[in-house]
């Protein structure tokens, strides 16, 4: 167990180091949520009676939707595709590195990225007079479960559909962007017509947004968001299972390649 943990930290460190070197992607991951937060913060300022409340309302959706959607969902896809293209995956398969340690390492790396993005989003929110009213620990737990859900799905898309970088973006955009729109990331789901609103109830991004918004804006406790957390927990477990299965299948194909 200790070996798996150490090995996973090594994998995470390597992914983060590569990310630091690949500045363009890092800048994009910082710039995109920053611009989206500023844009929607200003758009909703009149409706919420000032920049502070507007940023407080907007920040959770931007962090979970705009920021982590791209980093924690597309990130693992890029990692897996990169390993396959560079043939390092085959090298790792020949090493004593356990598959679980590799999987966990990818999760750690993207949770760290999510934490950094959270710092940027809430740094800006505080700078514009907004804030985070509820428990930071509960907020962090929602971010963690959301990151795990995204990474599991990222593994699934990366392992199942993407053999090269070109393949990687299509499925994520095709499935993910409608989920963002239906998840209340950029505007309230109250605006949706009835049949679309019903769909949001099975959309994990909706539950992420609602849970974090309730904690960040209204300062509610764990009981008030238990339904959202339950859904998210189940979804995280399902996405991990799905990702693991797709990853194992991919390893089988990679061995035979």
């Amino acid at each position: 167990m200790a070996t798996i943990l150490w090995d996973s930290l090594g994998v995470a460190q390597r992914i983060l180091l590569e990310l630091r070197r690949n500045r363009r992607l890092l800048i994009f991951w910082i710039l995109f949520p920053t611009l989206m937060l500023l844009l929607f913060g200003w758009i909703y300022a009149d409706g919420f009676g000032g920049l502070g409340p507007s940023f407080t309302w907007t920040a959770p959706g931007i962090l979970l939707g705009a920021a982590m959607f791209f980093s924690c969902l597309s990130g693992p896809v890029s990692v897996i595709v990169g390993e396959r293209e560079r043939r390092t995956l085959r090298r790792l398969l020949r090493s004593p590195l356990a598959g679980s340690a590799y999987f966990l390492g990818v999760v750690w790396a993207h949770v760290a990225v999510a934490a950094g993005q959270g710092g940027i989003v809430y740094g800006l929110t505080y700078a514009f007079g907004g804030g985070f009213r509820g428990s930071l620990l509960l907020g962090a737990a929602i971010v963690l479960v959301s990151a795990v859900s995204y990474v599991g799905l990222g593994f699934y898309f990366g392992a199942r559909f993407a053999r090269n970088t070109e393949d990687a973006t299509g499925p994520v955009a095709a499935v993910g962007v409608p989920l963002l729109v239906l998840g209340g990331t950029f505007f309230s789901v109250d605006m949706l017509p009835g049949f679309l609103f019903a769909l949001t109830q099975v959309n994990p991004i909706y539950h992420m947004n609602m849970a974090l918004k309730a904690v960040a804006r209204d300062g509610v406790g764990i009981r008030a968001i238990s339904t959202h957390l339950l859904f998210l927990g189940l979804f995280a477990a399902a996405s991990l299972a799905l990702g693991t299965r797709a990853y194992r299948r991919m390893l089988h194909l990679e061995r035979a390649d």
């Binding site: 150490w6 390597r14 560079r86 043939r87 390092t88 090298r91 398969l93 020949r94 004593p96 061995r255």
Partner: protein, 310 residues
């Protein structure tokens, strides 16, 4: 002690049989060269040995046992393709892979420093892999394979595509590992590499070893003491003359070659070929090339009287 054993390996991909009962062993500190044409099954054998593929039949053993996570920690593999992280420096790549092989803390750093020194990577230790030339990348590819101090080293065409100087430097490194007790199994289709590096050589053809032994010993398998490469005005006349002299003849890549039963001189040979218009004639010693060509000749051109015209 036998460090690598391949026993009766069989492998098919669909209807294509790639390995048909492959047997070989590599002893401690021995360099074994697995030679073969493209598609002969060299990489398949390596992939089975390193756990990437499961053989249809037979077994692959490292130090007498099957490959386990424990034996993987002292087995190093340098794949044919460069498999490195291009955004990381040489040192960072080595540190990562040393960690993958369970080296930790100061032991990991010390070992990486040692490998950088051994592989003469010092000037490039802080250079990202993407900025290195192909030769340096291949050198690092090999360095990664030895970063954890393996007792068994498996090299799949380790010097493919390298210039002569870099190849010689890598050969020197591989010889050093063997002297220090590492068992090396390398695949190559460069015969000079096998001649210079290997204690023993196995020629893989059609999925099985068709010749095996020391390089010197393998030369004995060619039925000749010396070779004469001949370019004649009329090949048929030359073949007829050779047949009458009972000198076996081969056509190696279009070049008619006489397999002389005893050493001779050019003058003596010209005299024996009296009546044949010869454009050029060259005597050459037997090398691994002839051993290889003899061993991998298609069955249909092996004629009973030793004279091959196909």
């Amino acid at each position: 002690m036998t460090m690598i054993t391949l026993r009766g390996l069989e492998m098919s991909f669909g209807s294509r049989r790639v390995l048909r009962g492959l047997y070989l062993t590599v002893g401690e500190g021995e360099v074994y060269g697995l030679l073969g044409n493209n598609g002969a099954g060299k990489s398949t054998a390596i992939n089975i040995l390193t756990g990437l593929l499961q053989a249809d039949a037979g077994e692959a053993l490292v130090a007498g046992g099957p490959l386990t996570p424990a034996t993987r920690t002292w087995t190093g593999v340098a794949p044919q393709e460069i498999a490195l992280y291009p955004h990381l420096t040489c040192r960072e790549n080595l540190l990562f892979f040393a960690g993958v092989y369970h080296l930790r803390g100061s032991a990991r750093r010390r070992r990486v420093d040692d490998v950088i020194r051994i592989m003469e990577l010092g000037d490039h230790a802080s250079t990202p892999v993407a900025a290195l030339s192909g030769g340096w990348q291949r050198r690092l590819n090999l360095a990664v394979a030895i970063v954890h101090g393996p007792r068994v080293l498996i090299l799949d065409e380790p010097t493919a595509g390298l210039d002569i100087q870099t190849r010689h430097n890598l050969w020197a490194s591989i010889r050093r590992f063997a002297r220090e007790g590492t068992s090396v199994l390398l695949t190559t289709h460069m015969l000079d590499e096998a001649e210079i590096l290997c204690d023993r050589v196995g020629i893989l053809h059609a999925g099985r070893i068709v010749r095996e032994g020391t390089v010197d010993g393998l030369w004995q398998s060619v039925p000749a003491a010396e070779l004469a490469e001949v370019e004649a005005e009329d090949d048929e006349a030359l073949l007829a003359r050779a047949r009458s002299l009972r000198i076996p003849t081969r056509r190696y890549g279009g070049q008619l070659t006489l397999l002389l039963p005893s050493p001779t001189t050019l003058a003596a040979l010209v005299q024996r070929l009296d009546g044949v218009a010869v454009r050029s004639l060259r005597l050459r010693p037997i090398g691994l090339t002839q051993v290889f060509l003899e061993a991998t000749r298609p069955e249909e051109v092996r004629l009973e009287d030793g004279v091959e015209v196909g």
